[in-house]
Symmetry: C2
């Protein structure tokens, strides 16, 4: 395994790009490969077995491309497939839930923590379990926001529709008055300004994906996997099972890239 090998990122769609953006900022030397399973997004409502199978397919695709580390940049997939994937590959595998939960516990002043995510993530109880294992005394409010990922994937995350959907969905949380809110889906940071506006400025938003990059950085140090080569031809490649055009539109804007290599791929029977 060479240090110049890329880090792999996988997500159900474009959400994991919020993790990639932070990775590009914190780890400018690293080569990056990304798979967004847009054709089968959202993962949220799917049964766990299916999410595990799809995650395994993305992982295998990237392993064949020679990645040195894998980031499951998707909360739904982390919730149900992280353990399974760790068992089957020999490279370090990092999920987004533990970093998000850890960061929320550090940030919370009143111990009133809310988590929003897909139906799959919320139903798995992963955040709640993780938070309570470490801090049984905190109160955790969990809310599934099934429409959010779809709004982002259809490139409507700045629209009036987005504002309406976010305001209506988060209404129950306003009564709970959490001091900290975990964005427990990597799609949600694209909705961040709207979410912050609805929750009010006193609620600290935790971007689980961005927090994950701290773990990636720690792991690169620990396993001595950093890429110290400054290469003008740095690799940053994106693969999608859906429309490369739509993916490119969202990714270019979000990552502020004028040109972006996006390639269509087939995974399994999709």
């Amino acid at each position: 395994m060479s240090n110049e090998c890329p880090i792999g990122f996988i997500d159900s769609g474009v959400g994991g790009l919020t993790v990639v953006k932070e990775a590009m900022r914190q780890l400018p030397n690293e080569n990056i490969l990304y798979v967004g399973d847009t054709a089968r997004c959202p993962y949220g409502p799917r049964p766990a077995e299916q999410v595990i199978e799809f995650t395994r397919q993305m992982t295998q695709f990237l392993i064949k491309k020679g990645i040195k580390m894998l980031v499951i940049a998707c909360n739904t997939a982390t919730a149900v497939a992280l353990e399974e994937i760790r068992k089957t590959v020999s490279i370090p595998v990092i999920g987004v839930i533990q970093p998000g939960a850890r960061s929320a516990l550090k940030a919370s002043t009143a111990g009133e923590i809310a988590v929003i995510g897909t139906t799959g993530t919320i139903k798995s109880g992963s955040y709640e379990r993780e938070l309570h294992r470490k801090a049984p005394e905190v109160t955790v409010y969990s809310l599934a926001c099934p429409k959010f990922a779809t709004v982002v994937e259809s490139n409507q995350y700045k629209s009036a529709v987005a504002k309406k959907v976010v305001a209506e969905t988060l209404k129950p949380l306003l009564l709970d008055k959490p001091d900290t809110l975990i964005l427990g889906c990597t799609h949600y940071p694209l909705l961040r300004p709207i979410i912050q506006n609805v929750m009010g400025k006193d609620t600290v938003l935790i971007d689980s994906g961005a927090e994950t990059v701290n773990d990636v950085s720690t792991m690169l140090d620990y396993f001595d996997l950093n890429n110290f080569e400054r290469n003008e031809k740095k690799t940053c490649r994106f693969y999608t099972t859906g429309s490369p055009k739509m993916f490119q539109e969202i990714a270019s804007e979000w990552l502020s890239f004028t040109t972006l290599q996006v390639e269509h791929i087939h995974l399994g029977g999709e």
Copy 2:
């Protein structure tokens, strides 16, 4: 290896207590064993081979006590012995230099980073190398502060002597005007108010030890080693090769503990 096993911390003296303090805050469930090699402190002026040997002795002492993870809470020992110790034990071993360097790179706005440490740490060039490998463009100013650790070990860290020593030693750095200063010795956070006063409020101080606890937390998650048992009889034991009385005085004040178990031990031929 059980999750209830303690985490081991080793240092040349009381400096590592600054790491323990942060660990107690962030990881309240964890049992802690600490060795301070006060009798042979400071490590700074000693040859590398000797520091490696002393570090190995402390490590073996704690391995026999059944620790699940080792934190080399000493910059001098991390600089010269981390790789060696990692090779010889089967538990995860974490040093303080990579977390400190990583955090400084995140914090620095102007890329003007200063590092202060013992003669041994500065002579090893560890921080400079680590910073430049990741960010060749930053300017690094390194300054050995051979008297600082001794001032702390003799419990004079709030005295007029401390103020004078710090002001005189740091004088050359004032001309360099670093935007970020790494406290590259775990003793230095006890001198933090004085150091901040000398450097001015615009210089961001990085406590490499406290940053290390983030790595400890990440590693506990990654290796599934967290202790989730809430135990009223939590273990927190301190061993020193020097005077338990002096150790207890400094530790009790620094950690705000009224009672503290400190035991005298012999290591090697000291």
